[in-house]
Symmetry: D2
Subunit: 139 residues, 4 copies
């Protein structure tokens, strides 16, 4: 059995991501998700750039975020991304934690589907290259 | 029976919200949700400012976005927000449409809970002021 | 003599543009400049889209902002853009004012040069199409 | 003679900072300036947090950016910040370089003045604490 890959990135929360309440504005966690997602895609050797070179974009079609505890300016956090599904769509789960205590701050997921470029035609199964990149044998 | 309130805002998609694929970067729809949410909260006379004046912040604890069709630079879109729940938390549903065709682009929701300020203590029922603002009689 | 064109846009400052000090984060005024600039370019019938269709991108090569007075959440502001130079580069001046009082909040300028697309070769004089759009006779 | 302090930060350009032309949107360099500025202020032990604790905010009153060469998605860049003036205002100069080649991408500066908090009263000379932090003897 193959373990699905994961990756993480450390982020120092910048001032410009924080709102007048003094916490990271909720929409900015989508940035941290993307930083972790790009680290994960680099790990499987299928970065955004490689996606485009393979003839596909993989737009986000669904995103969910659950906010457990607010992050603040200058807090060191770890954003991790784990691949959860890949056959028909790319589902990635995220956890953002405080770097020092390990406390969970935000959890969530994104779903992406392959679309051909430049005509944006949606693919109902993931193109073969994804399985290849994951080292999964398909018949 | 009371109809729950809704509001909408028209937005001209700015260049700086679009990504190298040429579409609005998925995280930026959280901005459009907030613009519609603020229009809705203004309508019920309980804006962010009034929330703080009433002793509470209402942080987002959950957000979901489903992307149906990408918006692009210079597209005129309508973001609408509708109150869906208010008793224990503030749940708001969103639809973003193309202004010309009415086609749905993104749908989603947010959930907020009251926390006292400045100590961030979570309230398990919405403070009375919200029902008052909604014109709902509570015993 | 030709008066150089100008345009303006009204903006309601969104919450997500404000920082923990409670004011618009200084970098976000570049967004408001761009909204005014796009209104101006629409007026001269040479929008970002038309620029690309004409074979050129016009990247910003210089930007200056002077902050006179901070804008805050929910403040209605007017961003105006005025064309100042066009022969060798596109220089645009900006003023952001409070909509109610007319008080100046931020002033600044940007400079852009034409580069051919997709090879990004810099043009040392503005391509003829810009003068045409401005209705200026060139020999 | 005292050498004025400097600091730098390495940044991996995220996708969401890039625009439909495929380059970092010009306004986003203000983010990179701030990341370098915060590294510099940490080095002199006078971070944003410490500024506020000392009774002052230091809003940006002037920012200039000159764009030499565009940065792109996934490019590793170094943003450096150097203190240039401190007596009446805090003037910081920035250089953003490609991490691999050292090529300059963007240069610029910001100016900040002390304002008392929470009443935003502007100080025409830098408060004594700044000189102390810089280890400069004032009579």
């Amino acid at each position: 059995m193959t373990t699905l890959p994961s990756a993480e990135a450390e982020i120092l929360v910048p001032f410009h991501d924080c709102d007048p309440i003094g916490i990271v504005w909720h929409g900015n966690y989508a940035r941290y998700f993307e930083i972790a997602r790009c680290a994960l895609l680099d790990r499987i050797d299928y970065s955004y750039r490689q996606m485009l070179e393979s003839g596909y974009a993989w737009p986000i079609i669904d995103m969910h975020l659950r906010y457990v505890r607010p992050a603040r300016f200058d807090q060191r956090i770890i954003a991790s991304a784990t691949l959860e599904e890949w056959e028909h769509r790319l589902k990635i789960a995220y956890v953002i934690r405080d770097a020092a205590s390990g406390e969970r701050l935000v959890v969530g997921h994104t779903m992406q589907v392959a679309v051909t470029m430049p005509d944006f035609e949606m693919q109902y199964a993931s193109p073969r290259i994804l399985a290849e990149k994951l080292g999964i044998k398909t018949s």
